[in-house]
């Protein structure tokens, strides 16, 4: 254990920190000591630090305002380095640990001498919304190049991390009967009531430990300290099967009992104590029937000049530092209060040895505390002390000045109703203003919700406990024995004082965004009278604290400025998250490599080991080409693979194609309705090419389907659309034709498939299946055979995408690798060459076969030259809508083939077609566009392409120009012809 360093503001005793565990940490590279259980704020305050950061707009020096998540000022950066750096931690929520390094933010130059503080000097010229009114002199370029960069540089608080986050995060599905939000005395009591009734409960508490206000208020419960009583409650809840989760923020309420919560698992631990394989944070997606809002209340300040000076803080914060951490925030303290509650803090400070003066805004107040001076009927008029509070002026019934080092403001309480209104539309009700309590209270709740504790407006601990009992009862809980509370905390309703008389400039409401009392008035003056307009115009409530301490005061002042009631003005909309949460926590495991799963073919490992470069399609990794010695570019590989296939024998993996097994007496009728062409006459043992439309009449997908038996078909789809086709078939069957006696299932993963293509394909096939008749008669074009390979079913389809004599053979995926290797072995005789998608692309373009580049969801059957494939004798999906006028428009672009005029030219995909090389090139003169390109076609010994063009057939034999402005305005001469370059009569595939 290291030596004790002095902590000037730390009391000798008190608080629930662990004084046996001193902790060394740094702030702005200075070394400090605190204790285990300290927050950064409490530890620095103990060390006498007052200045924590700079405000957003005016760069005013700021200290600590609150003691919890409401803190607007004290935001710090944790760790350093591009990946580790973590900005905008609230010092009040950050638990210190050995070796913690923290840095102040948002200053140019040292924290104490920020040059941007000039903004404060000229703040009178920077009122709310000033930027809307200026900076347009010089036009767009002046704004973009001159003014905006200045604004941008000044904006933002912390510095962003600049590399991937090294931590890991997890999502947890958490189920419970009831979620209790808030682990204060009210939440815990309600939880116990429910747990005792047999409900499974989860209590989430945002702070470092359960207990809420009970940890610092100094009350006793059946004689136990708050902390001890809280431990006792937690133990009982856990004994009854409940869970308590500290450091867990419930950030949002969603539909049907779904709640989001984030648990911080690592941020409080020294790095050495973070267990490997565990997450920095866990995002709990909580599913619970009921919810209890036991979120407590957040104190608010009062608008007066200089109320942001370091040393001015909320009374509850000063009290928390004292009660929970044993830190006395000042020796000469002033409490400015609008209600009796401030006296509790005054008493506690006095007991801790501070000289305390109370400024009570009320003329007739009658709380008396030994040793505390009370000045009644006065308010804090101005606080002085740029880097730390020195003096406060008061005014009212009397006036004067007090030398003071801390000013604790008790301006009243805002129940933390945020979560109750995340789904207001569900109940069509918003938080309601109670003019007695001067607070917004939860709206009427539905039967699955309850509220407990100070969020309901209950003030004394006893009342909070009673409300907890009632909340438990509402949700089916059992009565619990409530403790006897011994309390020295006076409570009363507050007096209405949102800002002191005359407050304007430098009377801050939203401390982070520097929105002042004056800004609210200006907003009203300029017609921004709706509370939402005021928020947006002044940015009040839009900072990282989302106005937890400022919003209600702001709208109360707006009400006054516009002569309305506070209830009429209403609140702005509360939105998730309740407090900011890292984006990464919600992303959980699914990031970068694990963003989505990979789909792998059964021969993926083989392909990887054999030089394949992969291409993504529909989550699959498909070989694009196989690099062999001598291939310098991918095109070398693709052309080599093409030539080998065309000249002798190629083999490719088609396992990724979608495959659907369709069975039942109405299977053929089903296909008839899905495809444009007829299926009833397809003989068993035959395959047919089919085209599916969407219901809007445009082409959806294509593929071949085979008839394996009268009532049994086997469909293939494109890789990219496989999932979509399956869902489409399920939709049509279930929603439109539920009576069709058919059932089907995806067998994509069941079968591995390869294609043998090229003049030697038949010979190779014969060798693989020596007992089979694979002659042109035995297995003609579009013929299908089912047989056995080594005891496993094999299906052979004589179909061809490449335009060669070709067979696709499918075997079960488990044995596909073995089969593939066997094919390679027997094919060696013909130099069998594996080919990838790039070679396939060259061959199918030569053949004029379409893929997704052509079937892009905008083309009709006619457009791709397949208009003949329509049976007019039946209904099918898309038939009706394909009768619309646009489909028959002669101006529709249709498919055409292009050949580069010059052997070295490579046609550009996405290039636009024009009739002349001289322009004009604009949208009125463009004729069409290029969809698919073979950079080199062995057939044509140059580049070829598929394209769409108006009046396509008129262009056959003519010259066109492919223009691509995004390729340096390239203009290339091409010749148009039929897209079926290769073997247009299909002699090869039939041979």
């Amino acid at each position: 254990m290291s030596a004790r360093l002095p902590q000037p503001n730390r009391l000798e005793s008190g608080g629930i920190i662990n004084r046996d565990r001193p902790v060394i940490f740094t702030f702005d590279r200075r070394v400090y000591q605190g204790f285990e259980g300290d927050s950064l704020a409490s530890a620095l305050l103990a060390n006498g630090v007052k200045l924590f950061g700079r405000s957003f707009k005016y760069h005013r020096p700021r200290g600590i305002l609150g003691a919890g998540p409401e803190e607007p000022n004290a935001l710090v950066e944790v760790d350093h380095g591009p990946a580790e750096r973590d900005p905008n931690h609230r010092a009040t929520m950050l638990e210190i640990y050995e070796g913690l390094e923290t840095f102040s933010q948002n200053h140019f130059g040292p924290l104490g001498m920020d040059v941007m503080e000039v903004n404060d000097l000229i703040s009178r010229f920077l009122p709310a919304g000033f930027y809307y009114k200026t900076f347009f002199f010089g036009g767009l370029q002046a704004w973009y190049r001159l003014y905006e960069p200045i604004i941008r540089r000044a904006a933002g608080l912390g510095r962003p991390p600049l590399a991937a986050d090294p931590h890991h995060y997890e999502k947890i599905y958490t189920h419970a009967d009831t979620l209790i939000v808030g682990g204060g005395i009210a939440g815990l009591t309600t939880a116990l009531s429910l747990a005792k009734a047999g409900q499974s409960v989860v209590v989430c508490e945002e702070r470092d430990r359960m207990g809420g206000s009970a940890l610092w208020q100094g009350e006793t419960f059946d004689g136990q300290s708050g902390a001890d009583y809280v431990n006792h409650l937690c133990a009982e809840i856990e004994a009854a099967g409940g869970r308590v989760l500290p450091r867990t923020t419930v950030f949002g309420v969603y539909d049907a009992g779904t709640f989001g919560a984030v648990e911080r698992c690592h941020d409080h631990l020294a790095k050495a104590d973070r267990r490997p394989h565990t997450a920095r944070m866990k995002y709990h997606r909580i599913q619970a029937r009921n919810i209890v809002y036991a979120t407590g209340a957040i104190e608010r300040s009062v608008g007066f000049k200089g109320n942001d000076r370091p040393g001015v803080m909320l009374a509850s914060a000063g009290h928390t530092f004292l009660g929970k951490y044993g830190v006395r925030v000042g020796e000469r303290a002033t409490v400015f209060t609008t209600h009796d509650g401030g006296y509790g803090t005054a008493a506690a400070l006095a007991q801790a040895g501070a000289a305390v003066t109370v400024l009570d805004a009320r003329a007739e107040a009658n709380v008396v505390i030994d040793g505390v001076t009370v000045i009644k009927g006065v308010y804090a008029k101005q606080a002085h002390g740029r880097m730390g509070l020195r003096r406060v002026d008061y005014d009212g019934a009397s006036n004067g000045s007090l030398d003071t080092d801390s000013l604790l403001v008790a301006g009243g309480w805002n129940p933390a109703v945020h979560l109750t209104s995340h789904t207001t539309d569900r109940r069509q009700s918003k938080p309601v203003y109670d003019p007695e309590m001067l607070a917004f209270l939860p709206p009427e709740l539905v039967e699955t919700e309850a509220a407990a504790g100070s969020v309901t407006g209950a003030m004394s601990t006893a009342d909070c406990l009673t409300s907890a009992q009632a909340a438990g009862k509402k949700l089916g809980g059992k009565a619990v024995a409530l403790p006897t509370v011994a309390s020295a905390l006076p409570v009363s309703k507050p007096m209405e004082m949102w800002a002191v008389p005359g407050a304007g400039d430098a009377a801050f409401l939203d401390m982070q965004n520097d929105a002042t009392v004056k800004d609210i008035k200006l907003s009203a003056q300029e017609g921004f009278k709706s509370v939402e307009h005021m928020k947006r115009y002044t940015t009040l409530g839009m900072a990282t604290d989302q106005g937890k301490t400022a919003n209600v005061t702001g709208l109360a002042l707006l009400a006054a400025a516009t002569g309305r009631d506070i209830a009429q003005v209403g609140t702005t909309t509360f939105r998730p998250p309740y407090t900011p949460i890292p984006v990464g926590a919600l992303a959980g495991h699914h990031r970068q490599r694990d963003y989505e799963p990979f789909r792998y073919s059964p021969i993926h490992a083989w392909a990887e080991a054999n030089g394949a470069t992969f291409m993504e399609a529909g989550l699959w990794m498909r070989p694009a080409y196989y690099t062999r010695p001598g291939d310098k570019t991918w095109l070398d590989s693709a052309v080599r693979e093409t030539k080998a296939t065309r000249d002798s024998l190629g083999i490719t993996d088609v396992s990724t194609l979608g495959k659907i097994d369709i069975q039942g007496p109405d299977a053929a009728e089903f296909l008839n309705r899905l495809y444009t062409n007829g299926w009833k006459t397809l003989p068993v043992g035959k395959a047919r090419y089919g085209l599916m439309l969407r219901e809007d009449g445009l082409v959806f997908d294509d593929g071949t389907t085979s008839r394996l038996a009268d009532n049994h078909f086997y469909m293939t789809t494109t890789t990219a659309h496989a999932a979509g086709v399956m869902a489409h078939m399920e939709f049509m069957h279930q929603s439109a034709w539920p009576d069709l006696r058919v059932a089907f299932g995806s067998v994509t993963d069941q079968w591995g498939g390869l294609a043998l293509a090229g003049p030697q394909a038949r010979a190779c096939l014969a060798k693989l299946f020596p007992d089979l008749d694979v002659t042109n008669d035995g297995l003609p074009f579009m013929g299908v055979l089912e047989t056995q390979w080594n005891g496993f079913t094999a299906r052979i389809f004589r179909i061809s995408f490449s335009g060669e004599l070709a067979y696709e053979v499918a075997v079960p995926a488990d044995v596909f690798e073995a089969f593939w290797l066997e094919a390679l072995r027997v094919g060696a005789e013909w130099d069998i060459t594996p080919y990838g998608l790039e070679a396939l692309n060259i061959m199918r373009i030569e053949k004029g076969h379409v893929t997704g580049a052509e079937l892009d969801g905008r083309v009709s059957m006619d457009d791709v030259g397949l208009g003949k494939m329509v049976s007019t004798k039946k209904d099918f999906v898309g038939r009706a809508m394909s009768q619309r006028a646009a489909f028959a428009d002669p101006d529709r672009a249709k498919m055409v083939g292009l050949v580069a005029a010059k052997p070295d030219d490579k046609i550009i995909g996405g290039g636009i077609l024009f009739a002349s090389a001289d322009g004009p090139f604009d949208h009125t003169t463009m004729l069409g566009y290029v969809t698919s390109v073979a950079q080199y076609s062995p057939l044509k010994d140059r580049s070829i392409a598929l394209a769409f063009i108006k009046n396509a057939s008129d262009w056959h034999g003519k010259t066109l120009y492919v223009v691509s402005h995004v390729h340096g305005k390239s203009i290339m001469e091409v010749h148009a012809e039929s897209p079926h370059f290769y073997d247009p009569k299909n002699e090869k595939v039939m041979s």
């Binding site: 957003f56 973590d86 900005p87 809307y132 200026t134 347009f136 002199f137 767009l140 704004w143 905006e148 540089r153 904006a155 933002g156 608080l157 912390g158 962003p160 590399a163 991937a164 986050d165 779904t258 989001g260 004056k518 300029e526 017609g527 709706s530 939402e532 307009h533 947006r536 990282t544 989302q546 909309t573 939105r575 998730p576 998250p577 900011p580 984006v583 990464g584 919600l586 990031r591 970068q592 963003y595 989505e596 399609a617 969407r694 809007d696 580049a853 969801g857 619309r884 006028a885 646009a886 489909f887 636009i912 604009d922 949208h923 290029v930 969809t931 390109v933 402005h965 995004v966 390729h967």
Partner: protein, 417 residues
């Protein structure tokens, strides 16, 4: 104009305690009758009123807004302004709109902070590259600008993008330099102030509850603040299109869906451009205040509630961290939703309706913010009986004729666009 803004004015007001600023717009009581009523005080409604007054001299106009001005989608969008469309029907219109953006602050005497910081649409395959090249070419042929970037180009422009993403590596991007962002609220307020200065009545908290029709001709509206007569009525109610259309007995080709948006805490600059991640439908930019503003796709179900649910939120965060890994630690500050008027082809409708004097402006899906000036311009021309060629194809009957404008090729399913 009396109440001009500018640097010197700000200085003068600063010296005299800002007492001289008048209201940005009046708060008039509705008159009994107007020449034109625009339903909807969103960006499009306000811009329409502004151009009716400014360009056509039609000033006896009221904009009726059920809530507060600019509280609809114009006040809750991710502020991307671009004209990178493929189809003529869209590109003619959106490029016109972009050109209006370029002079908008000066025109309005209001800084809408249009910031041409460029957009980059990232793609992941060669096929997608060709499709983006085609789009870029067509943009240029319509008078817009486009640059095709390769992988290194993307890395240079936006160094924090994970171009080497192991799951969906980025092959390149289509960049439009003139694209960018604008300050959403300022757009609504600037148009509102401009319209008000020219005599238009902006009437808030005034919900249209009925549309009066006699002999097939519109004669006025019923509102929560009483009946108001009008010669012409223009609907510009975005997510409420079906509800307001129903008041005139119209059934329209619109579904209402929620799109969520997100903003993080303010941080110092980390992203300059607007960038989109094709594989995750994710897009992001950084606001002038320093917040990362981002979103992705629709929740997918029909709704009129301005909020969404967790599954989509998780998806957005997953895509974001996969695309810009450094944003993992940045904290999400706020999330919200807006109700989109989704059309079956994802493109807008600016047209007359079958009812005389009733005009329709709808179908903006998630792309209508960038359309704001263009939409107001074109809609005002249509209402003033001077329709422009920019909206020639944005017709209501295109679903009957089949001349749909389907940028994604996704087909007639509203929530896919």
């Amino acid at each position: 104009m009396a109440d001009r803004y500018g640097f010197w004015r700000l200085l003068r007001e600063g010296l005299r305690g800002h007492t001289g600023w008048g209201p940005a717009w009046r708060d008039p009581a509705p008159k009994a009758e107007y020449d034109v009523i625009i339903i909807g005080g969103g960006g499009h409604g306000l811009a329409t009123a502004y151009y009716l007054a400014k360009v056509h001299g039609i000033t006896n106009v009221a904009v009726l807004e059920k809530g507060y001005l600019g509280g609809g989608n114009v006040g809750r969008n991710t502020t991307i302004v671009r004209s990178n469309y493929l189809h003529t029907g869209n590109e003619l219109f959106y490029e016109k709109s972009l050109q209006l953006w370029e002079g908008l602050s000066a025109d309005l005497d209001y800084n809408v902070m249009f910031s041409p910081r460029s957009i980059i649409n990232c793609f992941h395959t060669d096929g997608q590259r060709d499709a983006e090249a085609r789009r870029g070419n067509q943009m240029i042929l319509h008078g817009a600008d486009a640059v095709l970037l390769d992988k290194e180009g993307v890395r240079r422009e936006a160094p924090l993008i994970d171009v080497d993403n192991p799951r969906f590596p980025i092959y390149g991007g289509l960049m439009q330099r003139r694209a960018g962002t604008a300050r959403h609220d300022a757009v609504a307020w600037g148009f509102a102030r401009g319209a008000d200065q020219r005599g238009v009545d902006l009437i808030q908290n005034c919900e249209v509850t009925g549309i009066d029709i006699e002999d097939g001709r519109v004669t006025g509206v019923q509102t929560s603040r009483g009946p108001i007569r009008a010669k012409k009525v223009g609907m510009a109610v975005a997510g409420s299109t079906s509800r307001v259309g129903a008041l005139a007995g119209l059934r329209l080709p619109i579904e209402s869906h929620v799109l969520q948006a997100f903003v993080t805490e303010g941080i110092k600059p980390m992203l300059h451009n607007v960038i989109t991640f094709g594989a995750g439908h994710f897009y992001i930019s950084q606001s002038d205040k320093g917040g990362l503003v981002f979103g992705a796709s629709l929740d997918g179900y029909n709704t009129y509630a301005q909020r969404g649910n967790l599954p989509l939120i998780e998806h957005v965060m997953e895509a974001g961290v996969s695309f810009v890994p450094a944003m993992s630690k940045v904290r999400l500050l706020r999330s919200w939703g807006g109700v989109m008027d989704m059309s079956p082809d994802g493109s807008p409708i600016i047209d007359k309706t079958p009812i005389d004097g009733l005009y329709l402006n709808a179908g903006w899906c998630y792309g209508g913010f960038k359309a704001t000036p263009g939409s107001g311009w074109c809609f005002s021309h249509l209402i003033a009986d001077k329709p422009t060629h920019h909206i020639e194809q944005l017709r209501l009957d295109r679903f009957k004729t089949g001349y749909v404008i389907d940028e994604l090729g996704a087909g007639a399913q509203h929530n896919l666009h």
